[in-house]
């Protein structure tokens, strides 16, 4: 069974490596270096302004450490078919899950070490902690994470009936107790508490797992969600074929759809608008890019920079939306229903115009708020209007007409 995990891990790592190569392209690495450099510079500047003895310093440290302790999930690499094919091997799965936990430690513990390392200068400035105490605190953090991952492993089994030991409230509570004890008394106390917790869970689990079943369905779902999260991250940089996205009802937006009359020529508008809003794949993209654009525009000053940035973000949103046109190509009714392709294109253009207009308006409002120059706001508006019109009404139909022709 450890062999099975090893094979899967190799495949998983190969896949991750493939995507990471695409994510960390030259451009992104360059941007990342700048960002990290800027953040590091800002952090060191901030440290210079701080003194020892703030009451809130341990609170900040506690918050950061508790949040970081939750990072790093239990990666099982379990697949849907396992509940059929591995069911007879349920006892042997224990070795597999233990191997999975061991692998999950790697990234999780690296995160913990880096976080403590980054937090160390802050704590030594504001709390005057010596290096030894910081090392002890780091040790406590690692043992705590070990215990939390053990809870995840234990929860793969039905050891505690319907209640799970790895509920997030419970994990947060444990982390707060252990770390607060360390921060407000001695770091060695945190080490002690974390050790007691870790050993207690380990002993208790070792005595109980043999008689219990694995929560197959739940573990499969958890692993699916974990992979989905990873794919979504990659999807911001490149196309990920496994990504179908989740669907949410979003009933509160039903009023919006009422504006689309159920008439023959509105078929695609009806379909596209609902698909856009309820599917997370494209709507998430639009929301993410708009929010990032708004944040950026809020902090950027200058006469021309806001104009260029606003235009860039609208271009990015519009460009990323184009594949949504083919979203329903694999549903046979898209081809069988008696609707002219021209109507489909028209509906799509309407949708794109609408989405880009809303995004443009939001970006423009931020520019108006952030910039005192009326001139900048005016030019931004003008550029945005022209760009939305060109992208939606001219570029989109041309580009998609070509893709329709290529298929026929």
């Amino acid at each position: 069974m450890t062999g099975l995990f090893k094979t899967r891990l190799q495949r998983h790592l190969r896949e991750m490596a493939k995507y990471l190569r695409l994510v960390f392209n030259d451009f992104f690495v360059f941007a990342l270096l700048f960002l990290l450099g800027g953040l590091g510079y800002g952090y060191s500047n901030m440290l210079k302004t701080l003194k020892t003895g703030y009451w809130w310093a341990p609170v900040v440290a506690l918050l950061v450490l508790v949040i970081v302790a939750q990072i790093g999930r239990f990666a099982t690499l379990i697949e849907d078919a396992d509940r059929v094919f591995l069911l007879p091997k349920e006892r042997a799965m224990h070795a597999y899950l233990v191997a999975a936990r061991r692998y999950s430690q790697g990234l999780a513990q690296a995160t913990q070490v880096i976080a403590v390392f980054l937090l160390a200068p802050f704590m030594s400035v504001t709390m005057a902690w010596p290096v030894l105490s910081l090392v002890e605190l780091g040790l406590a953090q690692i043992i705590l994470k070990d215990a939390l991952l053990r809870l995840d492993l234990a929860s793969a089994y039905q050891v505690t009936g319907q209640t799970r030991m790895n509920r997030w409230e419970f994990k947060w509570l444990l982390s707060i107790i252990v770390l607060a004890a360390g921060l407000w008394t001695l770091p060695l106390v945190a080490v002690g508490l974390a050790l007691i917790l870790d050993i207690a869970v380990a002993v208790w689990f070792a005595q109980h797992w043999q008689k219990q079943q694995i929560r197959w369905r739940e573990q499969i779902k958890i692993e699916d969600n974990r992979m989905l999260g990873i794919y979504r991250f990659f999807n911001m940089f490149t196309e990920v074929p496994m990504l179908s996205g989740t669907i949410k009802r979003r009933r509160y937006l039903d009023g919006l759809f009422k504006l689309i009359k159920p008439r023959h020529d509105k078929f695609y508008l009806y379909l596209y608008s609902r698909g856009m809003v309820r599917g997370s794949e494209f709507s998430g993209l639009v929301v993410r890019l708009t929010v990032i654009g708004m944040l950026l525009l809020y902090f950027v000053r200058g006469e021309w920079l806001p104009v260029i940035l606003a235009a860039l973000f609208i271009y990015l949103i519009g460009f990323q939306l184009l594949p949504f046109f083919q979203q329903y190509d694999d549903v046979v009714f898209t081809h069988v229903y008696p609707i002219l392709p021209a109507q489909r294109l028209k509906s799509f253009v309407t949708l794109i115009t609408l989405i880009l207009s809303v995004a443009a308006l939001l970006l423009w409002l931020v520019v108006v708020v952030a910039n005192p120059h009326l001139m900048t706001a005016g030019v931004t508006l003008l550029v945005e209007v022209v760009e939305v019109w060109y992208l939606a009404r001219i570029y989109t139909p041309q580009r998609l007409a070509r893709s329709i022709e290529n298929r026929a």
């Binding site: 159920p262 008439r263 023959h264 009806y270």
Partner: protein, 244 residues
């Protein structure tokens, strides 16, 4: 003559799967398309619904080909696929609504029909469900409801009997009977030969991309007198000849 398939050569790529196929479906007639896996049933259906373009030959539906007027052609067809396909982001209610929009049906009248169909297939309390929450059989019922909502002149039903509960099979056969009486034609592919034997007016037996025989059961019996009485026997003997 509702549907007329004449000398069609076609397939997914340049290599033809269908080798010169001809048959027809008359008004008010239920024709069974019978064949082994890979015989060309689905390919034939894909050509009729316009997903594939024939390399040679023509397919006319009440005098119109898809090239002449794709709207007029498609307007006459309702299709029930073998594997249910649904729009993941639309609820059952919205699926019915888009079908009405696509076929330009009268809203109130179509909803009256819809409610009746939903009741028959016990879906009337699931109008706000997403496809993800439906079982395979339920999805298939949604397909049936959407198709029979329309006033199509030709219903194309791909293997309808697998996955449906016996009650739904019975209800579907009643629906087919009802539409036949109103003059609609039905082309149905299936492996469930005893049901086909009882309900189909005529049969088209496909084998290896060719029409082996076609006709009513008595015509088939007359053509292959040693084969046996039932459609099952006739079909088996026909494939055996080929294997020997």
């Amino acid at each position: 003559m509702a549907l007329e398939v004449s000398h069609v050569v076609g397939g997914y790529s340049q290599i033809p799967v269908l080798k010169d196929i001809s048959f027809d479906v008359k008004d008010g007639e239920l024709v069974g398309l019978i064949g082994l896996n890979g015989a060309g049933k689905s390919t034939t259906i894909n050509h009729v619904i316009g997903l594939l373009t024939p390399h040679k030959g023509t397919i006319t539906l009440n005098g119109v080909t898809i090239d002449q007027d794709s709207q007029a052609y498609k307007q006459q067809i309702a299709y029930i696929p073998e594997t249910p396909v649904l729009y993941q982001e639309l609820t059952l209610r919205e699926h019915l609504e888009v079908t009405m929009m696509a076929y330009d049906l009268d809203h109130d009248q179509a909803w009256a029909t819809a409610h009746e169909l939903l009741k028959t297939f016990r879906l009337d309390n699931k109008l706000d469900w997403f496809p993800a929450n439906f079982s395979k059989g339920m999805k298939q019922k949604v397909m049936i409801v959407c198709a029979f909502l329309t006033q199509a002149k030709l219903f194309i039903i791909d293997e309808p009997f697998l996955g449906l509960d016996p009650l739904a099979v019975n209800d579907l056969l009643n629906l087919i009977e009802d539409r036949k009486k109103k003059g609609a034609s039905i082309l149905m592919s299936t492996h469930v030969l005893d049901t086909a034997q009882r309900y189909c007016d005529r049969f088209v037996l496909l084998h290896d991309g060719q029409v082996k025989t076609e006709g009513t059961l008595s015509e088939l019996q007359a053509a292959l007198p040693e084969a046996g009485e039932s459609l099952n026997d006739i079909y088996l003997s026909m494939t055996k000849v080929d294997r020997a």
